[in-house]
């Protein structure tokens, strides 16, 4: 279970997250919605241990990460057991799309080769897989960034508007993949403004508004 407990984060005097509690179980997809600038990305950054909340803790399958000692105090962050796809993607610009995907792999065995081939076909990436990111459209880059994360076989994945630039057909293919991975036990936390996408993949729905999180819907 991924569990953010009493996460409090303020920028200056303004509280962005006021003692937020959120859980993501294995094999479920949690959808996070809310107005822009409401702190959704900050919550994702806190849960993925990239940003230290002012107080609170994060638990990843029994490992606790408290932040009183600062974010740099521990080096055993559970990456890529838990990983994140940022809204701005951050593909490494000096590497081709293929190398972006392969760089993080410790081993490139049969499973990875098979899964990469599957994702290249499923996400229709054949035509641009060997291009550089700056030669690719935003939608293409989103699929590469998703593939880069998925091929690492994470147990929890946090997606920040990861399909915002995809057309319905291609977003549908991503949804299919996420549903399949969810069935295999992956925990997914998804920020999206697309209700269609959210309804297809989500099990629980939260709204982050005025620094508070509330559950608005559960399937």
């Amino acid at each position: 279970m991924l569990y953010g407990e009493n996460i409090y984060k303020a920028f200056g005097q303004k509280a962005i997250l006021a003692n937020v509690n959120i859980t993501v179980e294995k094999g479920e997809a949690v959808v996070l919605t809310g107005p822009s600038g409401g702190g959704k990305t900050t919550l994702l950054r806190c849960l993925s241990l990239l940003e230290a909340p002012d107080s609170g803790s994060v638990e990843v399958d029994g490992s606790f990460y408290k932040f009183s000692q600062g974010i740099g105090a521990r080096t055993d962050f559970p990456y890529p057991y838990l990983t994140i796809v940022f809204q701005q993607l951050f593909l490494w610009p000096h590497l081709t799309n293929r190398d972006n995907i392969l760089l993080s792999l410790q081993n490139f065995g049969e499973r990875e080769q098979e899964y990469l081939n599957h994702l290249i076909n499923h996400f229709e990436m054949k035509d641009f897989i060997d291009n550089y990111p700056n030669q690719s459209s935003l939608g293409q880059k989103q699929r590469v960034a998703l593939t880069r994360a998925l091929i690492l076989d994470p147990k929890y994945i946090l997606l920040d508007e990861a399909t915002s630039a995809l057309d319905d057909d291609r977003a549908g293919r991503v949804v299919e993949e996420l549903i399949a991975l969810k069935k295999k036990g992956m925990g997914i936390l998804l920020i999206t403004h697309s209700l269609d996408l959210a309804k297809q993949v989500g099990d629980r729905f939260y709204k982050l508004e005025k620094s508070s999180l509330r559950e608005i819907f559960r399937i």
Partner: protein, 219 residues
């Protein structure tokens, strides 16, 4: 012009060797020490960073020629020593180059959006691999054109050494001109030499700037 060069080839060759020796000293020491200081500045911003930036600020306010003359005449008179003008010129221009390079390196490292490193971390890359495969290639691509341009400028500045009696190529050209009094031919030959050396370097800097200017604006 060719006849003069052939007739005084030994003088020109001697001047050329001194210029190259001076340039190689300034380039190598400047790049190594400046690179090291630039890296240390980003690691220890408040101690080394502030001291280095303060020194660079002071040096940038002193014209290179004044700095050279001050090290050559008053300082040596005050210290009661006489140093070979070649070493005085090498020291002066190395100091200028070190702080120029340090500034470029510091700027290149601090300008790299940290999210590229964060992305590498959440993909499970180890620190050494992040440095080798992500940070270093991206920073180098960003700074190499500026470093080349700076080294071309440093080559131009070696001409000042002639003013403290270093027998580099400009001084040798002056001496040849004093004998033959053909300024058009002599200084045209000198101009040709600098064009032959500097244009390819500037061209390479321009080429690399265009080649490596991949989109890293995804902040």
């Amino acid at each position: 012009m060719i006849e003069i060069i052939i007739s005084y080839r030994e003088a020109f060759l001697q001047g050329l060797l001194v210029t190259l020796k001076l340039s190689l000293t300034i380039w190598s020491l400047g790049l190594i020490l400046g690179g090291a200081i630039g890296i240390l500045e980003t690691k220890w911003k408040k101690s080394i960073g502030m001291l280095s930036r303060a020194l660079a600020f002071i040096i940038s306010g002193i014209p290179v020629l004044v700095f050279l003359f001050w090290l050559h005449y008053p300082l040596q008179a005050l210290a009661g020593v006489v140093i070979d003008p070649f070493y005085t010129a090498a020291l002066t221009l190395t100091i200028v180059n070190v702080f120029a390079v340090a500034g470029i390196v510091r700027h290149g490292i601090s300008e790299l959006p940290s999210q590229y490193i964060e992305t590498a971390r959440v993909c499970g890359l180890r620190p050494y691999k992040i440095l080798r495969r992500v940070q270093l290639p991206m920073v180098l691509r960003h700074i190499i054109p500026s470093l080349l341009e700076t080294q071309v400028n440093m080559l131009h500045l070696t001409l000042f050494a002639s003013l403290i009696s270093v027998n580099e190529i400009f001084r040798m050209a002056q001496r040849v001109n004093a004998i033959v009094y053909k300024p058009v031919e002599v200084y045209s030959a000198l101009g040709m030499f600098f064009l032959l050396v500097c244009l390819p370097l500037n061209g390479l800097a321009l080429y690399l700037k265009q080649k490596f200017s991949r989109d890293i604006s995804e902040k």
